[in-house]
Amino acid sequence: MLPVVVVHGGAGIVPRERSEKSTSGVCSAARAAYAILQGGGSSMDAVVEAVIQLEKNPTFNAGCGSVLNAKGDVEMDALVMDGKTLSSGAVSAVRYIANPIQLARLVMEETSHACLTAEGANQFAQAMGVPEIPQESLITEYSRMRWIKNLAPGANPVESQMGKMG
């Protein structure tokens, strides 16, 4: 039964016109992670690679393609956890980086902390040599359209993202 990898691209509303890209995105991420496992790689390498692929894919709400906050900015959160030692690393409200999951792994491997947030997370990224990128490169037309649509008075962002009870 081993090795095995399972990937998700998010629960909630996937418009029909985006379902094809969403499905092919998670399938290629799963393939890439499985190739690492078959090559003897660790489960940590596999899950991080799968998530990096999805962060790079503008179809998904992570990394490039993240939804925008009320001010129209991108703030991202990420977590990794290692089941052998129960160590973990996380970043929250981090900006201007392409792959928050890589930074979360660096928090786990390079600090004694569990989570770094906001400006502290960005300073740590700089210290680790993680390149800073312009926020514009994280924003897609789709995420901007959804942001504008949910600025309207009476809008319900949670329902717009999650849909009604399944």
Binding site: V5, V14, T23, A50, L79
Partner: protein, 140 residues
């Protein structure tokens, strides 16, 4: 939100979750993803979970650790995932989805929302789906 869980050939288990958060969230709002036990959890003795959905609801029930608790008490990956999601829905009215794996390599992709896009790779077979009940396979 995106995430993954994996068990490697040595039996080591990991999880990873990443997100842009909730649409039009307040500046500084942090959801479940970066919180251990909510956005994800991994333990070689129990399994691993990566979660997605309404972050405030996931944190209220610490969804990832709750599912592993059900597995600790003998529930299958699928039953434990459904129990955790059902509790979140009935207790705090939250919708979400999870991918779950146990140390033997049994896995589940379950959700209480109408959709969750997912994929799994095991024994040279790729599994995937989007709508409730979908489970397609193809050779890797």
């Amino acid at each position: 939100t995106v995430g993954a869980v994996a068990v490697d050939s040595e039996g080591n288990i990991s999880c990873a979750t990443s997100t842009g958060g909730m649409l039009n969230k307040m500046e500084g709002r942090v959801g479940d993803t970066s919180c251990i036990g909510s956005g994800g959890y991994a333990d070689n003795n129990l399994g691993a979970v990566s979660t997605t959905g309404a972050g405030e609801a996931i944190m209220k029930v610490t969804l990832a650790r709750l599912i592993l608790f059900h597995m600790e008490r003998g529930q299958s990956v699928e039953a434990a995932s459904d129990l955790g999601l059902a509790y979140m829905k009935s207790r705090v009215g939250g919708l979400g989805g999870v991918v779950t794996v146990d140390p033997q390599g049994h896995w589940a992709a379950r959700f209480s929302s109408l959709q969750m896009v997912w994929a799994a790779a095991q024994k040279d077979t790729l599994h995937y789906g989007l709508y409730t009940g979908e489970h397609f396979t193809q050779s890797i």
